[in-house]
Symmetry: C2
Subunit: 202 residues, 2 copies
Amino acid sequence: MGPAVEGRAVDKVAQRRSELATAALETLAELGYARTGLRDIAARSEYSHGVLHYYFRDKVELITHCVREYKARCATRYDEAVATATTAEELVAGFLREQTATLTGEPQMHRLWYDLRNQSMFEPAFRADVAEIDLLLERMVGRVVSRYAELSGARPRVPPTVFYAVLDGLFQQALLRQLAGDPEAASSLREAVQEVLPRLVH
Amino acid sequence: MGPAVEGRAVDKVAQRRSELATAALETLAELGYARTGLRDIAARSEYSHGVLHYYFRDKVELITHCVREYKARCATRYDEAVATATTAEELVAGFLREQTATLTGEPQMHRLWYDLRNQSMFEPAFRADVAEIDLLLERMVGRVVSRYAELSGARPRVPPTVFYAVLDGLFQQALLRQLAGDPEAASSLREAVQEVLPRLVH
DNA sequence: GACTTTCCTGGACAGTCGTCAAGACAGGGT
DNA sequence: ACCCTGTCTTGACGACTGTCCAGGAAAGTC
C-alpha cells in the first residue's frame, strides 16, 4: 500500500462519507432530528444501515459531519450579490431575491439548521460545530451589511452580531409562517428587512 | 353521581392533568423533546408511567397540554414593568431586568420553547398551539413597545410582528451563548436591546 | 491462478419507545 | 355485607433504536 494509493483511498473514503452525509442531510431535513434513525438515512442512500458504522464512529459523528457539509453551502449564498451590486438598492434587491428563493425553495433545509442549532442547547457534542457555522453565517451577514453601508455612504449603527441576530429572527419567523402555509410569508419578510435595515445603518 | 360531585370530579381531573403536565414540562426542559420519554416524565411525578394514558389520550395531547400551561407563565412576564414604569428609561430598565432574569434564571424553560416551536415545523399537530403562543408573545412585546413609545413621546417605526421577531432573534442568540457558558451573554443582550430599540421607535 | 485487503450486507444484541389491558386498591352508595 | 366506580400500578406487546459482528462480495496484489 503505497502513499499514492493511500491518497486515492483516502479520497475514496472521503467521497463515500460525503455521499452518506448528503443522504443523512436529506433525511434529517425531511423528518427532523427527533424522528430520524440510522436506517432511515441508509434507506435514502444506496447502501444498507451497517455501512454507516464503517465510515462513521457514532451517530453523533455522522450528524456532525452533516452539519459541516451544510455550512459550505450556506456561507457563500449572498457573496455573488455582494460582488456584483453597484448600488445599495441593487444589493438589497439581490439579497432579498436570494433570501426569498431559499425561504420558498428549500425551507426544509433551514428548519433542519434551526433544529440542529436547538439540539446544541441540549447536546454539548454539537455546540462546537454549531458555533462555528453560526460565526460563518454572522460573517456572511456582516459582509452584506458592510458593503451595503459602503454603497450607500453610511455606517452600520450596531455590531455585526446584532445584525445577524436581527435578520435571523426575521428569517426564522418567516420560515415558521412559510411552513405553516402562509402565502405572504416571503413578502412580509422582504418588507420587514427593507424597513429594518435602513434604520440600523444610515 | 350528581352534578355537584361531577363538578368536583372534573376539578380533580383537571388538577391531576396539570400536575402531570408540570412534571412533563420540567422533564422536557431538562432533556429536550427528542430525548424525553413518557417514563422519564412519570419518574419525575409521583405516579407510574401508565397513568399518563389515563389522563391523556396521546403523547401529543400531553405535550400540547404542557405547551398550553407554559403560555400562562410567559404572557404576563413584562406586564408589571409596563404598568409601573413612569418614564421610558424606567420601562427599558424593568424590561431588561426581567429579560436578564429569565435568561440566566430559567434558560432550560426557554430552550424548551424554542425546541417545541421548531418541532412544529415538522409536526403539524403542534402548529396551532405554537402559533397561539407566538401570537401571545408578540402581543406582549407589542404592549411593551407601544408603552415605550408613549412614554418617550415617539412612534414605533415597524409593526409589532417585526418587533417581536427582532427581539426574539436577539434573545435566542443570547440564550445560545448563555447555555454554551458565555458569561457575557446577558450583558451583550442588554446592550443590543438598548442599541436597537431606540432606532426602531423614535 | 491463489491470497489479501477493502468494502458492504444482513442479522442479532440489548435497550427504549408509545400504547394498552388486566388487575389491585380505595371509597361511597345501597 | 356487597357491588360499583374512579384511580393507579404493573407487566406485557410489537416496533423501533444505536451498535456491533460474522461473513460474503468485490477489488487489488503477488
